[in-house]
Each structure stands twice: as C-alpha cells, then as structure tokens.
Amino acid sequence: MTPHGRGLKVLVADGDRTVLELVQIRLDVAGYHALVARSGPAVLETLKTVRPAAMILDMDLPEAGAFEVLETLTRRGDKLPCPTLVVGRKLGIEDVKRAIGLGARDCMAKPFSGAQVLERVARMLKPTCAAPPAVRRPLFVDDPRLPRATA
C-alpha cells in the first residue's frame, strides 16, 4: 500500500466512536494526518489553532451538527477554511443541497466503507484549477504555422 496523503491534515468529526476510529486509521495508514473531534464545538475549537487540508463532518455531531458548524464558519460571508465532506445516515437531497449551499464540497451517505471515504478525500484534495485549455486560433493563408510546401 502506498501512502498518498503526504502528511496532509484531515479533520474528522463524528460522534460515533467506531466510525471515528475507522476513518482515523484509514487516513493515517494512507499517509494523512488525521485529527479527530467528537462534537461540533470541538470542531470549531480545533479550527482556531489548526488549518486542516480537508474536513469530514457528520450531520448528527453531538451538540452542534455539521450544518450548524458550517453556518458558524460561514456566518460572516467567509469561505470554509478547507474542502469539506458532509456525511450522514439519513442524507436526503435537501440535506445535500443545504450542505453544498453552505460551502461543502461533497456529501456521502452512511454507511460507507473505509475505501470510499479515502476516495472522496483524495478527490476533494485534487487541484481543481486545471490549466486553461490552449486557445485554438484558426489557420489562415500563408500562416507560418502551416508546413511549408517543398519543391
């Protein structure tokens, strides 16, 4: 197995101990540095001192769920500090719309496998600004880009 996380910090927040440890181990083994939080306020507290490369937030986090956390972080019109994946057991279309509206990059329904969560994190961390496509200018008569005719 080749670690591909390059030590990037990923904050994982879930009230379920099994899910939290599972995701933490999978991220660590993949070469990421997983930081964990068990409640909404713990996420906000962690973000005061750490700037993760990505976040995974559970919709049903104790004390303040993912939406409340996202609302708090974007209250002043600020952007989210990093790409965010919202996960949830009963994730409906309205929840997905709300999460995306609050700046989340992606959503995933529970239950998921360790492999699926790694795939989503890797996708979120892929550079989104691809190089602009080369401008194709039309050719014209005597265009220097045209091959020269040989006698």
Partner: protein, 130 residues
Amino acid sequence: MSLAAKADLGLEASVASTLDVLAWEMELASARCMLLDATIGEMMKAIPEERREDFVESMHTVDLLCQQLTSLSAFTRNLSGAVSEEVSAPVEGALGEITLGALADRMATALGGACKGVDERDSAGEFDLF
C-alpha cells in the same frame, strides 16, 4: 409476545440496525488489520534481508485477513439495507456475551442502549511482552 415477556428480554434492536452496527465493527477491525499490516511492513525493514522470507507468509495472512474482513463488512452492510426495519431481535443477551468491554459498549450505544464510556485502552490491559 406479551409486554412483560418483552421487558424481560431487555434491549431490542432492529435486525437492519444490528447488521449495520456489525458492518461498522468489521470495517473497523479491517482498518486495524491494515494498521497492523503497515506496522509489520515497517518492522520488516529492520529485519536482515536473508530472514525476511520467513515472515512473508505471515504478512500475507494479515493482508488476507484485511480483505476477508472488508468483504464481510460489505456483505453485512448490503444485507442491512435489504432487511426491513420492522423486524427486531433481542440483543441484550448477545451483547452480554461479548467479553471485550469497549466493543460491547460501542455496540450497545449504537443499538440504542446506554453508553458506559468504556475505553478501549482501559479494558485492553497491559502488554505482556516479557
């Protein structure tokens, strides 16, 4: 079943939820195996090259165990989605048979029981290395 008889059975949970909880636990076990696999991989670097072959089979077994648990987890997760939420089963007795306190506590909490806050490290005991 009478209400009194139901009360005697203690904690009840839907079969779908129980399978879901089992799937998560198997996925966690698989992740722990992966961690073990990675740790053994690191330790192998410290072993002289001529002796590494002696351990290759054991490493392969750990890898196989990871895959087995991942597959069983996927199977259980799929099964959980296929079972009606209305079918329930008494789980209290079965939970009582689990001797690892932290696992029993996690599963009981996930199935709607009370959380006792058992820590994995507290119940794991000391390492008996020597």
